[in-house]
């Protein structure tokens, strides 16, 4: 709890947004936090299925994966990674601003997070388009240039995983952008202050989680071919 709350007179249950079935605001906050973390554990397992598939196939076809990975644009991937890390910073600052009842800062940082998140998605769309132009979409049209013939066959699997994993990550980003928009609208309506900032903090947790997924995806998909023993 921030210090500001101690100086203020005791807030009522209504100001604390305590729902009928909770005894205290603390109990509600605890439940919301545990609920969000539990949901994130579910998400870890959801992505975990694909990471498991990645591990199995990379073990089976290490050279094909390394060769295929060289088709990824490391510079763009690295730039996008930096963009996402910045978005996590602004998200953390937005949560802090909400805790301190600084409405202007809250809105500013939420817009910052939105901007970084949208930038990431737009860059990702251009990357997908480049892959399409280069015939790197798995399936009947899959014809990578400059790939050693012995890898042509198994290269599809890495690209399948690439599109599924980054695609599922992008879906989560789009949901996140929607949630941030919801936060911005409610912030203009003075919904969040030091008495009640649960949604900002919970959506913040979600946003950080989606960032962390990318932190794993970037090296696994982009960098393995650029590391020469």
């Amino acid at each position: 709890m921030p210090d500001a709350i101690a100086e203020a007179p005791h807030p009522t249950d209504e100001e604390l947004h305590v729902k009928h079935h909770f005894a205290t605001a603390d109990q509600q906050m605890d439940a919301d936090t545990l609920g969000m973390w539990t949901f994130l554990i579910t998400e870890v397992l959801f992505f975990g299925g694909m990471f498991a598939a990645y591990a199995v196939y990379r073990e089976m076809y290490p050279l094909a994966f390394a060769a295929t990975s060289e088709f990824m644009n490391v510079k763009i991937g690295a730039a996008n990674t930096a963009v996402l890390i910045c978005s996590s910073l602004t998200m953390a600052m937005a949560v802090r601003a909400a805790q301190l009842s600084r409405k202007k800062d809250l809105i500013k940082y939420l817009y910052g997070t939105l901007a970084f998140g949208s930038t990431f998605l737009i860059v990702k769309a251009f990357e997908y388009h480049a892959k399409y132009v280069e015939h790197l979409i798995p399936g009947p049209t899959f014809h990578p240039d400059n790939l050693a013939p012995q890898f042509q066959h198994n290269a599809q699997i890495l690209f399948f995983l690439y599109f599924c994993m980054t695609g599922m990550h992008a879906v989560h980003m789009i949901v996140g952008v929607g949630l941030l928009t919801f936060l911005v609208i409610n912030s203009y309506r003075n919904q969040y202050n030091s008495n009640y900032y649960t949604p900002v903090e919970m959506i913040g947790l979600y946003w950080h989680f989606v960032d962390i997924v990318w932190i794993f995806l970037f090296p696994l998909l982009y960098l393995i071919g650029h590391w020469h023993w």
Partner: protein, 545 residues
């Protein structure tokens, strides 16, 4: 909510305000966040899906009365697939948690509702959306892959409605995740003062363990189905051997959920049985701590045994040995429960009301189902039995003899609490007996058939198996008919049954201390718990109404 009416003064005089009569009109149901109303929505939805899945079962048994079968083989493939999909994902997984768990879990720990009431309602809507997909698939002619959606058949070769069925299961999976998430948070954060972990009813422990499996397992099957869907739509391969993909990887990912899922389907049933036996033996369950801990042990070990579904599908023998050992190991906590229930009844004041009859049936049938599971976790015998009716019989002993019977035990035990009315006990006993007889007549012959070598999932069989198959179909007819009887008398009781009072069984537990049917917030004041659970004494003189 626009359509809310005041009850008439006369009605109010005879029936105190409760969760059922506090509001009226369809909107008050479809937009409710009351865990009890959502539980009743689930009761009706899963019963409907049970009837659909049950009709497929009857058609399967009808088909198998003739060695060459009554329907064309393609139709038969769709029948057993739709039976499996509907029953597993739309009845068994949500059955007890979404109905009895939803209704009772907050009451049992002294809470006014689950932690996230709106999420709870969302889970029901997700279930309905998933069910609509499933019903759509049924209407369009079904799926023929088996309920397991094995690749590459599901991804490449099947021309049936795999995608819609997978979509339905995917969506219903999230309904299950949200239920589990709600239970976990509620148990952690919403217990009344004095309700320590070791004072929680075993029903709550079982649902907590179930919730863990739901949140850890279900997302994995969801992603497996997404990958199958992408592969099917885009004509690309991750499970396709043509590009170096591994179909067995699909089986690994699928069973990583689907084996724990059978414990999603049985743990809540074990919770119900623990409550029922304690009440009708009038004793605290023998070894309460061990039963609680065994639920948690099952939840953990269930994630380590999935490979026993793949002993004959190309998994390495050494992997198989480990999975075989762990599968034996997971039988230990289940056996702990069975022994403890039996020990609870020893020197107890046992009475034979209908919920207890179902509990007896559960112990016997689950023991047979569990022990035959050991045949299948032995690698050598599994090679002979895996592809046969033995597996069908084993699975149905656990799922029907276990979960459906436990569901009926729970519904009979808590129906007076849910509706405030008592059903006809003679009819209930008659139905319980018929279900037990019908069930055994259906599935005992299937053990023999499997042992003799009749393959499962085949549309035809050698003529020498006909007698046992006809016997099984006769049993299925008895079972199917007897399962309809409770539907009739329970609904009748809700409307016309005598008032049950708050605690017709003189049972212990917070849910029996409040009004029947309960008010919207269950408790006027948050109760303080001062005693252990199951503080049973001898039965007091029954009040004759």
């Amino acid at each position: 909510m626009a359509t809310t009416y005041q009850t008439t003064p006369e009605a109010a005089a005879e029936e105190p305000v409760n969760y059922l009569n506090v509001e009226h009109g369809w909107k008050s149901w479809l937009f409710t966040t009351d865990h009890k109303r959502i539980a009743m929505l689930y009761v009706f939805s899963i019963t409907l899906m049970f009837l659909i899945g049950g009709s497929f079962a009857m058609l399967i048994r009808l088909h198998l009365t003739q060695p060459q079968g009554l329907f064309p083989p393609e139709v038969y493939n769709r029948l057993f697939t739709m039976h499996g999909v509907v029953m597993v994902f739309f009845f068994l997984v949500p059955s007890i948690p979404a109905t009895l768990g939803n209704f009772l879990l907050p009451m049992m720990i002294g809470a006014k509702d689950l932690a996230f009431p709106r999420v709870n309602l969302l889970s029901w809507y997700l279930y309905i959306i998933g069910a609509i997909f499933a019903v759509f698939v049924v209407a369009r002619g079904g799926v023929d892959t088996g309920w397991t959606f094995y690749a590459p058949y599901s991804t490449t070769y099947s021309n049936s409605y795999v995608l819609s069925a997978a979509m339905g299961v995917f969506v219903a999976g999230f309904s299950s995740i949200l239920t589990g998430l709600n239970f976990i948070v509620t148990v952690h954060k919403m217990r009344a003062p004095g309700m320590s972990w070791m004072r929680m009813p075993l029903f709550v422990w079982a649902h907590y363990a179930t919730g863990l499996i739901q949140i850890l397992g279900t997302p994995v099957v969801a992603i497996a189905l997404v990958l199958v869907g992408v592969e099917k739509v885009m004509h690309v391969g991750i499970f396709d051997p043509n590009v170096g993909g591994d179909p067995i990887l699909f089986q690994h990912i699928f069973w990583f959920y689907s084996h724990p899922a059978v414990y999603i389907m049985i743990l809540p049933g074990m919770g119900v049985i623990s409550e029922v036996i304690a009440c009708f033996a009038r004793k605290r369950p023998f070894g309460y701590e061990f039963i609680a801990a065994s639920s948690m042990a099952i939840a953990i070990l269930s994630f380590l045994v999935w490979g026993h579904h793949m002993f004959i599908t190309g998994q390495s023998v050494y992997t198989g040995i480990v999975f075989s050992f762990l599968s034996f190991f997971v039988a230990v906590p289940s056996a702990v429960k069975v022994f403890n229930w039996t020990a609870t009844m020893y020197k107890g004041s046992v009475t034979f009301e209908s919920p207890m009859l179902y509990a007896f049936a559960f112990i016997g049938l689950f023991t047979i189902g569990g022990l035959t599971g050991l045949f299948l976790s032995t690698m050598a015998t599994d090679v002979a039995l895996h592809g046969t009716y033995f597996v069908v019989a084993h699975f149905h002993f656990v799922m029907v003899g276990g979960m459906v019977v436990a569901f009926l035990a729970g519904i009979h035990f808590w129906w007076p609490k849910m509706t405030g009315r008592m059903y006809s006990e003679p009819w209930a006993r008659f139905a319980a007996l018929m279900i037990f007889v019908g069930f055994n007549l259906t599935f005992l012959p299937q053990f023999v058939l499997g042992y003799l070598g009749m393959p499962r999932r085949y549309a035809a069989y050698p003529p020498e198996f006909q007698v046992l198959n006809v016997l099984s179909t006769a049993g299925a007819s008895v079972l199917g008919f007897s399962l309809l009887i409770p539907i009739v008398y329970l609904i009748y009781a809700w409307k016309y049954g005598p008032k049950a009072g708050n605690n017709p069984w003189q049972a212990k537990g917070l849910e029996w201390e409040i009004q029947s049917p309960p008010t919207t917030f269950n408790f006027d004041e948050t109760p303080t718990v001062t005693e252990e659970a199951y503080n049973y004494g001898p039965l007091e003189e029954k009040q004759v109404a």
